[in-house]
Assembly symmetry: C4
Homo-oligomer: 274 residues x 4
Amino acid sequence: MFNSSINIVKRTIRKRPNNSHKGTFGKVCIIGGNQNFGGAAIMASKACVYSGAGLTTTFTDPVNLDSLHNIIPEAMFVDYHDDNKLKSMINSFDVILIGPGLGNDDYSLSLVNQVFQQINNHQILIIDGSAITIVANHHLTLPDANIIFTPHQMEWQRLSDIAIPDQNDKNNQNKVNALHSTVVLKSHHTKVYSNNHIWVNPGGTPAQATGGMGDTLAGMIAGFTAQFANTEDAVISAVFAHSFIADKLAKNQYVVLPTQISDHIPQFMKKFEN
Amino acid sequence: MFNSSINIVKRTIRKRPNNSHKGTFGKVCIIGGNQNFGGAAIMASKACVYSGAGLTTTFTDPVNLDSLHNIIPEAMFVDYHDDNKLKSMINSFDVILIGPGLGNDDYSLSLVNQVFQQINNHQILIIDGSAITIVANHHLTLPDANIIFTPHQMEWQRLSDIAIPDQNDKNNQNKVNALHSTVVLKSHHTKVYSNNHIWVNPGGTPAQATGGMGDTLAGMIAGFTAQFANTEDAVISAVFAHSFIADKLAKNQYVVLPTQISDHIPQFMKKFEN
Amino acid sequence: MFNSSINIVKRTIRKRPNNSHKGTFGKVCIIGGNQNFGGAAIMASKACVYSGAGLTTTFTDPVNLDSLHNIIPEAMFVDYHDDNKLKSMINSFDVILIGPGLGNDDYSLSLVNQVFQQINNHQILIIDGSAITIVANHHLTLPDANIIFTPHQMEWQRLSDIAIPDQNDKNNQNKVNALHSTVVLKSHHTKVYSNNHIWVNPGGTPAQATGGMGDTLAGMIAGFTAQFANTEDAVISAVFAHSFIADKLAKNQYVVLPTQISDHIPQFMKKFEN
Amino acid sequence: MFNSSINIVKRTIRKRPNNSHKGTFGKVCIIGGNQNFGGAAIMASKACVYSGAGLTTTFTDPVNLDSLHNIIPEAMFVDYHDDNKLKSMINSFDVILIGPGLGNDDYSLSLVNQVFQQINNHQILIIDGSAITIVANHHLTLPDANIIFTPHQMEWQRLSDIAIPDQNDKNNQNKVNALHSTVVLKSHHTKVYSNNHIWVNPGGTPAQATGGMGDTLAGMIAGFTAQFANTEDAVISAVFAHSFIADKLAKNQYVVLPTQISDHIPQFMKKFEN
């Protein structure tokens, strides 16, 4: 299992072509971070930039502008209340990640709806955190795009109507097929469900059980899918990288901080570059 | 004394179960940080997250939002003027720490009163810094909860009515019994008084004598008690860890910064994990 | 090519005279960073300070004040809406860098116009990023100053009217001569065109293909030209240093962050000091 | 010269007594940082905390609150427009440092005047940067306190009316005696003039010639004089430490950043602790 995962990672993280520029490695839009959960959008943005995405733009509440620039000055900022900017820019991105620290209120819902209305089928849409809950609670119709969900078990229960004890591979796969999406089901051994294929993450450590870990993973998936053509392999490689780095840090740490994982992504990717 | 303390630490910091998630390791609420002393609440929050608490939410003045996210994006923010959020959320936490940088004005008092009214006897309440002075000055009746005080000697004098020269074990223990609380009495050799038991910290260095050291300790106690079932052992382990790390850093530093201690908590805990 | 470049770097980065002070090493003004692209101005400021400029003042939108001070407290701040300060201060600088994160709106244009009207022919003016697009789109007449443009290929197309496929040395050199400027044309192997001379950067890595890389380079060029008398050599040395550091970091990193390059400038310069 | 300086440093930085607390090591107030030069006050505050001062409170413009907490959460904040706080708190400090980033406007003058009116002769007053210029330009009468000036040569010219070419030891010493102050005259080899005694700093490097270096030195002098009983020796030890650290860093860096010096103070002090 470990070796076959390594193979996926190696065939994904290819040596970068010499004649490339930042446009070559994708444009990512991250939408999240309300007045309470700004750190989530910031951690996702950091993970995305450190994963090598060419350009990262973060749509968030203006109270988070300072922290965003401090932690990741490489990311650009847009006030997520600015409807015109959202509309005019949304189709310029290769990948849209919505959810980290987005919250559950009416405005969060309206943002999800705006994205669903505008997105086109050439774009990748990652739906994370409270955006998953919004989709579930409001029975939103999914747009025609390349969709990736990143639920933990409770969020998956809300989205799939499969109670946690019944979340076995067969039930999950059926629901995933009906959703025409990729699902990253986070748990002790995270699984990636895609079109009739299940991948099980060989790694992972309880040292990762701390707030912000999922936001960091979502940002990494955004960064990887922005760069690498095979989306399923890119998702798997991001999940593998996230826990591989954590496992390594956990040898010397009782708890691993999400931002520490991001710091180590460039080294990880270099090591597995092929 | 050192060896018996090590035993307490070892029986406390248990290897994390594989099948765990952030909920397993406790929810902590930190209330503090007015417009002058924001750093205190931020340092407590950092210490709490680095101690491995599952989720940390900081209730503070909005002027501190940026710094909180910058220093510890893993923590969530709530404006501590938002009464509704405080009321609706307060009973969802395993541990509530009130006091770091809280100040002594009317609003500080009202926050202490709100917490005292809402808290229930399944929750741990850590009363630190100016919150101790508020309890003493206003002769507040303690709520029915698992209470931990973290005074320095002057604060203990205010709370206990025992003048500093008279703060011997017998007088202190009597007062602690009357308070039905655990008391962490900070000094050169910090003591932890609980129900008819006194533990003396074998470590500690004058390099720790700088502002913010107590806020960091309070955050560590919050993080440890959120994770570990035996509250008294958790408190002792946090106090031990705090000075053990400081002693180590003080071998090469004339003064040890509080935030440096937090940086080393995950390694400390891994080393003593059992 | 590599060795001749090293020679330029070595004759440029001279050992600092003992009897010097911060005024000896130049005053730099950086104008940029609107409400969306603040990180760009901040990264340019960091690069400038770490390159050894004596004094760096950043004119930017007030929303970026906090992040500027956090990332580079050594830089001073001016609100770029403050016309009086701009007018009274502009001629006190040795080098003016305009463009990083400036944006393309009317206010950006007015800032470029103000600088063009005020600057004198003893000053160095670096025109970067959206300021290049502004010059091109509005057909601005260049002021009488020591001008350096730092376009990527698309910006150069806008400025020179030479389509990217036609951007060969002959066409480029003709246009550069007409502009009476130095042009740093950024690509896989960046070229520096000055008065009838072309230098080709021997280094560079696709790990640099990420947002903010150009802002960092612009800040380095500002810092180098502020200190070193031969402007052409200073520009070449900055470009060389930027990719030399990146190449080294890229041995262990799949992507190199712009702010990491800045961190390594002082060591690079010491190594090549002569 | 070097050895006799080492002796002063060693007799100054004494091993801390075990039975001490943060109050033992002094309370420092730093006044500075207007809306343009916030970084200066923040760098001084960092230097002061890292020098081991027990408690540091920074009076500055509110726009600098975030950056202060981010860079040095150990410092407390007061809005320097709050006259009542200034009045009620000013005599509680052992050391008052006024000047880093203070600026030259009417409000800066009023702050200097307030301090001069309130301070008493048990307190140490360090007058730095623009506060020196204010004293000189407005011919302010010095208060009865233990005063330390930290001018560079131009500021000393303004204060002393001695033109730079005439700033020899005899002229300087006469003026210092008339001022009944200690004067730290910053240059390639900084000199400390006190009551009929001149000390010359054996160290110093042109790598230090960058903005913020003086603010850091001022903060160190505040931190050292707050802790150590012999004020003259404390000033000399701070100046020595500042350039000793810089000299060491300059072995591998072409320019040394002020904030890097602060990072190394605790190690320096430990090494020379006696």
